[in-house]
Symmetry: C2
Subunit: 685 residues, 2 copies
């Protein structure tokens, strides 16, 4: 059917809604929605299958607005198609507690797949969503049951194209031959600083071709709906490559300032709005107008989506009769619950077991549980042998044509691309059928900070396996030794930072990481061997902090994590024998989980009346919350055999004892000596 | 002169030194040095001009080993050419307190230009070094005085090629047409996970062509010295494009495991070492052998470099007679001192001056000082109008052919490439004649965390102008509102994090940032307007923390930063009038600088006997060090007009007062109530 009046009307409705909402909010980005309304209309109304009444239907097509500042485009579409997003929500654009915040947030708004805005993230999430589809299809589809065949569509702009994370993700997607991924590049030549020619003169299409993408160019993205449709249709035909459609558009199409930076990040002026509306045949005096025929057309499309879901439900029911186990598995995965009894597979250890590095303990967990948690997909940013992220029988997730694995494989080779790895994992998690875990050195989780932050903000159950967690990595030296990293991620809301001290604590960290459906985790793991503690159990460790060594007559509490807990236990002897001080030791593998325990419990772990000293071989920042005094490393580390490096910085039983004595001495006269757990008021959460 | 025996001997000397050092250290990466020894030999001995006796000579050619794990290559070269790096230093490879750490560190080792190892950084630093050369040449070169004409050479491997930061930097270098930059890509097909085909199948040369680079391919990098020489010579001829030479090599050339991942990150086995040495004509039983003719050849080249420097010194002296001011300027820049009296240009403010956003105050500083500090080069990652980083008369640093500026321009258009911006600034700073300052939103400094860390570790005077520093940015919402960011960078050693409260504090922040020759700074600046404080002066603020409101009878100290200091001053009234509590207010724009003051001073600011409460609208992590109780935001923010957002989280005079009252109440019974400045022991620095 050729495009006509009602299509034009729909496009201009999207444009004027974006104009009105940004004007009312006195804030926001009208330019991208005005420029991309035509392609959005064609894509959503001609290609995408979705049911606004059930935004969680598994086989829906996914849409990602990587240039998330243009979110009024997306909010307008969600409203027009009938998602639970009212015209009042549009009027509340960018207001406190609205579901239409300044950038799209997956957790809060129905129909938003992933949280975007920080540039490059959405594009990389889209790669993850496409990985999710390819993997889920490979695992569950059967002859006659094409259960999972959705596409992932992504809009991105010049900003995303410039970001390194998107380069990493694009190279990955090309390697993986993700034919289910179609990305539309809004080539509008404008970024915040003005014409992109001041900083961005590369040949973007050629670059994507170099990555192995199929590329297309629509030269008149403002008007040529047929060409847009033809390009998307052609992209869908190419099954062994992701497609990038370069769409040349005019930012702020219709505005007097169209094609300039003036429409990028500021609402249109009142008189400009009037001329825009008049030009588009809208009443210049009215705001937030939606012609009924636009609702009708889009609701008709939505009802086709609802019918498609119903059909799919029937297919899935029938599938359940032929493939009972797979049906049950997929049904369970969609609840995000784990299989019953899975936790019985978690390894446990006795104090007499040989000392093992926690990165190896992590490997043992993966080896033990990968069979019972089929949704677990591991991987590494090219540090497989160092991160110990791969179970022995793992198959790589690879395009079958390379002969190195297939799409049902559960091991991702992310390459040396930490930032994209994190964002791809966010997308995989958002797909809904996968729990992604990915490894790199703890120090290089910082490369991924932008995406790790979004794991937290968007409540993705993503597991960062972060090995080589301290100066304990030794010879690689300060460039690779994290000092500030744990403080950084402990300050990040909705992130669990685990630094287990031994085998049982490592199992506990995985238990919590896997069962916390709305929270990502960083597991900070050692390169060096660690002894197993006397008192550790999974049950105790999943409280985040517990007493690893009790003494009813203690004059000092040591609070420690990971590799330093064992040192503290040795320091106990020195303190007693050389200084006559009886000492308790608290192992605190995860402060965030400890914070969630009852005050009574927390006070039993770090009680009143006894001075507490923290011991962790990195920045002391934040440890004041759990201790009166802090022993740490507020400087960069050193290159050398790890025992030598520990010695250099006095992280020895004697070095700990020396500071413990000073702590006891210092607090002798303070009455009452309150536990740091006691606070004057509760923090807002 | 054709290549002969002695060249081969030199190459194999480099290889065996790398083999011996990694074996002795029982740690390290022999593969890259063995594979890249031929190109290193040709490059250093045929092309590079440098004087090992003065590694700081301005016009030396720069060399960057971006694949820094291969640093035994570089250490061997430095030793062989006669830098202050002895054979014993090679034997001390990767030992505590050696000058040959596991990855090259600029600050500690003569002849190392930049700190590398974290992949992609060195490549991006090389772009910065090339920018430094182009800019310095444009400013200082005159007819007959080609003072500055050095090249920057960089080796990089597959790991660097995969990292997003290198993609960003490569795109930037192509745009900037940096013909003085020649990068050699070690195409050895091996990364840690094995064959690069498992994750990296893109066409790297085509990608670099898309960026606007000149590309060349040497197919036999193991043996064809003539081809290597010809390629580098050809690259030097191309003046308007950076060059990338793809050099196909065999990793671990000579080892029984050559061409495999087995030689990447582990020392060779003893028997393999013996066969390598035998194959190369070395005594299998001897270690760390350097044939005299190798020393002779390299020392001869070094003496040519010394002569070149001497000649240059004469030229520079002559230049001084014709261009007295420029000569004086360049001479001064090389000392890293600022021009005398520059600080008199810093703006100062009275309390009656109108409220201004600190991002605008920062702009006023730049406007006021750019004339007197000609080495200051500003820029932004595509947020110029938001970061307010550009003075009115600024000229862009651009290739002249684009007609948008020239290489003498002092304003960098980094594009939306935060990570590369930071690493390029590290390179610009390392060049020695520039103080780079670059802007982005504070939240997106996190995208650059990998490079920011290296600013600190390698002691670069780089200034991050980080605007939109909190929920105070308002409508853009949680995706853009930093919460964890200041805690992150406060935990980073050798970093000054400034969050000024008003005009005088903003000037103080710049004063410290510009005069701290060995320390980078992050200036966290507001989007919203701030009133000027009664008590602020530059002199007080450069102590990092000072009393902004004193009361001899105070029962409470509020410790605050930036936009919340003004709120605290309002809270003083509420506390007095409604609760009868007299309150002191401390403004603490930079905790790191405050920490460096005398204990006496610090105790005068946060005294014993009075409970202190910190007030900062982000993670409270770390504030326990300066206060007994903390009021902050340990969750993500919200999208809305900023005053509404502040209200939602109770960051109002009343919200502060309420918690202040609770704090006073809570500490009533504690005797003695010590200032948190008092500690039981001193941290190791």
């Amino acid at each position: 059917m050729p495009y006509g009046k009602v299509d034009e009307l729909a496009i201009n409705t999207i444009r004027t809604l974006a104009v009105d909402a940004t004007f009312k909010a006195n804030s926001g980005h009208p330019g991208a929605p005005m420029g991309m309304a035509p392609v959005a209309h064609v894509l959503f109304n001609k290609f995408m299958t979705f049911n606004p009444k059930n935004p969680n239907w598994l086989n829906r097509d996914r849409f990602v607005l990587s240039n998330g500042h243009g979110c009024m485009l997306q909010y307008a579409l969600l409203h027009l198609f009938g998602y639970a997003l009212t015209i009042d929500d549009l009027k509340n654009f960018r207001q406190v507690d609205s579901i239409t915040p300044g950038h799209p947030e997956a957790h809060d708004t129905p129909g938003i797949e992933v949280t975007t805005g920080p540039l490059g993230q959405g594009f990389s999430n889209a790669v993850g969503l496409a990985v999710g589809q390819a993997h889920t299809a490979a695992v569950f589809n059967k002859p006659g049951f094409d259960l999972v065949n959705n596409y992932t569509y992504c809009f991105f702009g010049d900003g995303c194209a410039m970001e390194g994370i998107a380069s990493e993700a694009a190279s990955t997607a090309g390697h993986l031959q993700l034919g289910n991924l179609i990305c539309i590049y809004d080539d509008n030549h404008i970024s915040i600083d003005g014409d992109t020619k001041i900083a961005f003169t590369e040949d973007v299409m050629k670059r994507f071709e170099a990555y192995g993408w199929h590329t297309l160019w629509v030269k008149d993205g403002d008007n040529d709906l047929e060409a847009i449709e033809a390009a998307i249709a052609k992209a869908k035909e190419v099954k062994d490559k992701p497609s990038m459609i370069k769409l040349t558009t005019t930012i702020g199409f219709g505005s007097k300032l169209q094609g300039t930076g003036g429409v990028h990040g500021n609402p249109l002026k009142s008189d400009d709005i009037k001329q825009v509306k008049a030009k588009f045949g809208f009443d210049p005096e009215k705001t937030f107008v939606v012609p009924q025929e636009v609702y009708d057309m889009y609701h008709e499309h939505a009802s086709q989506g609802a019918a498609a879901e119903q059909e799919w439900n029937q297919l899935f029911e029938k599938y359940g009769k032929e493939y009972k186990d797979l049906h049950a598995d997929l049904t369970r995965r969609l609840t995000r619950d784990l299989p019953e009894g899975w936790q019985n597979k978690l390894p446990t250890y006795k104090p007499t077991d040989p000392a093992v590095a926690s990165r190896k303990l992590s490997e043992s967990v993966l080896e033990a549980i990968h069979d019972v948690i089929p949704e677990l997909v591991s991987g590494s940013a090219d540090l497989t042998g160092s991160n110990n992220t791969r179970w022995k029988k793992a198959v790589d997730f690879q395009p079958p044509s390379l002969g190195l694995g297939d799409y049902s494989g559960r091991y991702m080779r992310y390459g040396v691309r930490e930032h994209a790895m994190a964002a791809i994992m966010n997308g995989m998690s958002a797909y809904g059928t996968i729990i992604p875990a990915g490894g790199t050195f703890l120090n290089f989780v910082s490369y991924a900070a932008g995406a790790v932050r979004l794991s937290s903000l968007s409540h993705q159950r993503v597991i960062y396996i972060a090995t080589h967690d301290s100066i304990g990595l030794g010879e690689d030296g300060p460039t690779h030794q994290p000092v500030e990293t744990l403080a950084h991620f402990r300050a990040l809301p909705n992130m669990m930072v685990w630094r287990p001290a031994d085998g049982n604590e490592t199992s506990a960290a995985y238990y919590m990481a896997l069962t916390s459906k709305q929270t990502p985790s960083i597991l900070a793991l050692t390169r060096q061997n660690l002894p197993h503690l006397e008192c550790s159990t999974i049950e105790r460790a999943i409280k985040g902090g517990y007493v690893a060594h009790e003494d009813q007559e203690a004059g000092l509490t040591l609070v420690s994590t990971g590799s330093e807990v064992g040192l503290c236990l040795e320091a106990v002897k020195v303190l007693k024998e050389q200084h006559g001080i009886k000492t308790r030791v608290v192992s605190m593998p995860c402060v965030e989980v400890f914070d969630a325990q009852s005050k009574e419990y927390r006070l039993s772990v770090i009680p009143d009346g006894i001075p507490a000293m923290s011991v962790e071989v990195m920045s002391t920042l934040g440890w004041e919350k759990y201790s009166h005094e802090q022993f740490g490393l507020n400087r960069f580390g050193a290159s050398g055999p790890y025992k030598e490096v520990y010695k250099k910085f006095e992280f020895t039983p004697e070095g700990i004892a020396k500071r413990g004595v000073a702590t006891v001495e210092f607090y002798k006269d303070v009455k009452p000596l309150r536990s740091p757990i006691n606070r004057a008021f509760t923090q807002l959460i």
